[in-house]
């Protein structure tokens, strides 16, 4: 099987956007283009803002991805888990569509008898291991995130360790918002080596504004033109990913 590429935006934030477009709408736009949006909410012990929480959930819902709220100490494990879960969810969605085509009705994995699910799981696992993966990491660097940034950096290095153990190719890019001069700033262009951010990751935050929506919009523009996700399952399609650097 010649797997295609899974495209994700991983948004790491600690609360509410307060500037520009509605982030959920931008996440929905991403989804339209076959890019899923996973969201991780990093909170301090005991401080869980209801409004922030529901924004985090709705961005991920709109973006067809996974969300998880965690304390900073658990960030590393969560980042890799959410990324994996997001991948599995994407692949599973594609497999479900494929099943529906074959079986001709709204059939999902869950509708099959338990004994028949095993093989499908194997296909999903196989794709998760071998598919190409593009992750655009979008980090909220507004003032309240300041003391969490070292943890975010650690978590991203840990993510590259997890993903680089896969057989498939990985490409990463990192954006922060707000940027020094604009709403969003590109920190790292598409590269297989996420470790490259070690020396350039910001230690300082850049202000109180949180333009999550605009940041998502910008991030979207950074993905190349894509083929459909359906081709994940077909053998004839060439991997579409072109080196962007």
């Amino acid at each position: 099987m010649n797997p295609g590429t899974i495209r994700q935006i991983l948004l790491i934030t600690d609360g509410c956007s307060n500037h520009g477009e509605d982030p959920s709408a931008m996440a929905a736009l991403a989804r339209e283009q076959g890019i899923t949006v996973n969201v991780i909410g990093v909170v301090d012990q005991d401080i869980i803002d209801e409004k922030g929480l529901s924004e985090i959930e709705s961005i991920a819902k709109a973006g067809g991805g996974v969300s998880q709220v965690v304390y900073s100490a658990q960030l590393s494990q969560t980042v890799q888990m959410v990324t994996r879960k997001g991948m599995t969810q994407t692949i599973q969605g594609v497999v479900n569509k494929e099943l529906q085509q074959i079986l001709g009705r709204s059939q999902t994995i869950e509708d099959l008898p338990p004994d028949k699910r095993g093989e499908i799981v194997e296909v999903v696992d196989e794709l998760g291991e071998t598919a190409g993966l593009q992750v655009l990491v979008l980090v909220d660097t507004s003032a309240s995130m300041k003391h969490k940034l070292p943890t975010v950096k650690e978590a991203l290095l840990d993510l590259s360790l997890s993903l680089n153990a896969r057989m498939g190719e990985n490409h990463f890019s990192v954006f922060i918002f707000p940027g020094k001069k604009s709403e969003v700033e590109k920190l790292l262009d598409w590269t297989p080596r996420l470790e490259a951010l070690t020396n350039i990751f910001p230690k300082l935050t850049t202000g109180g504004m949180t333009p999550t929506g605009p940041a998502l919009r910008e991030a979207l523009g950074s993905f190349k033109k894509k083929r459909s996700l359906r081709s994940l399952l077909s053998n004839d399609d060439k991997p579409f990913f072109e080196e962007s650097v």
């Binding site: 909170v43 869980i48 929480l53 959930e57 998880q68 709220v69 965690v70 304390y71 658990q74 590393s76 494990q77 969560t78 888990m81 994996r84 599995t88 599973q92 994995i109 869950e110 008898p113 338990p114 004994d115 699910r117 095993g118 499908i120 799981v121 194997e122 999903v124 696992d125 291991e129 840990d158 360790l161 997890s162 993903l163 680089n164 153990a165 896969r166 057989m167």
Partner: protein
């Protein structure tokens, strides 16, 4: 700690609840909760008058892949690495469907509780763990999320059994599930690619965890921190050579680690008994230099003595455990 778990409440059930399979119509009466983790909840259940463990979740992918692993265990004759699989079904409740499977209930204690009895068991259990790993690796799998919570020491024989097969990964693939303290990637000591050395690293960390029940986090350079932890503990220092080699990924197979550990144990016992609480033992390093000083003539004599005593010791262990 993960924070939001809304679905989980729907399959978190109280004792007495009857779970009826939607496909095969068998009934399972919940007795109590045995444990829960990232991928679901495990209950002790009554299944036609017999105790069984029932794992239920909202994630049919993870449940199905665990079932796949348990099924492949079943194909190997006499394989008792994990629980045997008894049934597979879905539970329909209200408008939701939760997949579950029923497996053998392994009666016993988890590793850390078990060794509270006295640490003369520690080395024996690590030997047994390594034997299990050797079998599992032979089947082409890595355990992945190896940690004391996933090892049940069955009563009364003291056999080591694996529970939570969710992290089991074919060799050559990437590790999906891990726990930081036991993960060589976390300590900066290697990749997360599934190879036998990945599990052996975790086995060495279980050894360390046996003497540091609270565990500890990484603060600086991984290897030097772990080396210090081993050196600072008298009982661990005795096994320093094996532990450090495993941490550094120097063993390709569980068997080679096991053989070396066995050698050290027999040297120790030749030097004055089974490692036990409170006994003052010379460290491994000392005993090695001491041996070097012996004259050639005495060499053979002491070798025979060591062999004889280790033989008796092994006999002793087996008679105790069988």
């Amino acid at each position: 700690m993960m924070i939001n778990h809304s679905l989980r409440n729907q399959y978190k059930v109280s004792p007495g609840t009857v779970i009826k399979g939607k496909w095969y119509n068998h009934e399972y009466r919940i007795i109590k909760e045995l444990g829960n983790g990232a991928n679901g909840i495990v209950y002790l259940a009554d299944c036609h008058g017999q105790d069984a463990a029932l794992k239920i979740s909202d994630n049919s992918m993870s449940i199905s892949s665990e079932i796949n692993i348990l099924k492949s265990f079943a194909k190997v004759r006499g394989c008792t690495l994990g629980p045997s699989l008894l049934a597979v079904d879905d539970w329909a409740v209200k408008d939701k469907v939760f997949p579950f499977y029923v497996m053998e209930y392994i009666k016993g204690e988890n590793y850390l509780d078990f060794i509270k009895k006295g640490d003369s068991w520690t080395a024996v259990l690590i030997l047994r763990l390594l034997k299990n790993l050797s079998l599992l690796h032979g089947m082409g799998y890595i355990f992945g999320d190896l940690k004391p919570e996933n090892l049940i020491i069955s009563a009364p024989a003291g056999d080591v059994r694996f529970v939570d097969v969710g992290g089991i990964t074919p060799i050559g693939r990437s590790i999906k599930e891990f726990t930081e303290f036991f993960d060589r990637g976390y300590w900066g000591m290697g990749s997360r690619k599934a190879d036998p050395a990945y599990d052996l690293f975790a086995a060495a960390m279980i050894f360390i965890n046996s003497y540091y029940p609270k565990r500890f986090g990484r603060k600086g350079e991984g290897l030097s921190e772990l080396t210090r932890a081993v050196n600072e503990h008298k009982e661990l220092r005795r096994y320093e050579k094996v532990i450090l080699k495993a941490l550094m990924g120097k063993y390709d197979t569980a068997d080679s680690m096991r053989e070396e550990l066995l050698r050290i144990i027999s040297q120790n016992s030749a030097k004055g008994g089974i490692p036990n609480q409170g006994t003052k033992e010379p460290s491994l390093v000392q005993s090695r230099t001491a041996r070097k000083k012996k004259t050639k003539g005495r060499h053979l004599e002491s070798l025979i003595l060591v062999l004889l005593i280790s033989f008796i010791y092994i006999l002793y262990i087996y008679s105790r455990l069988l």
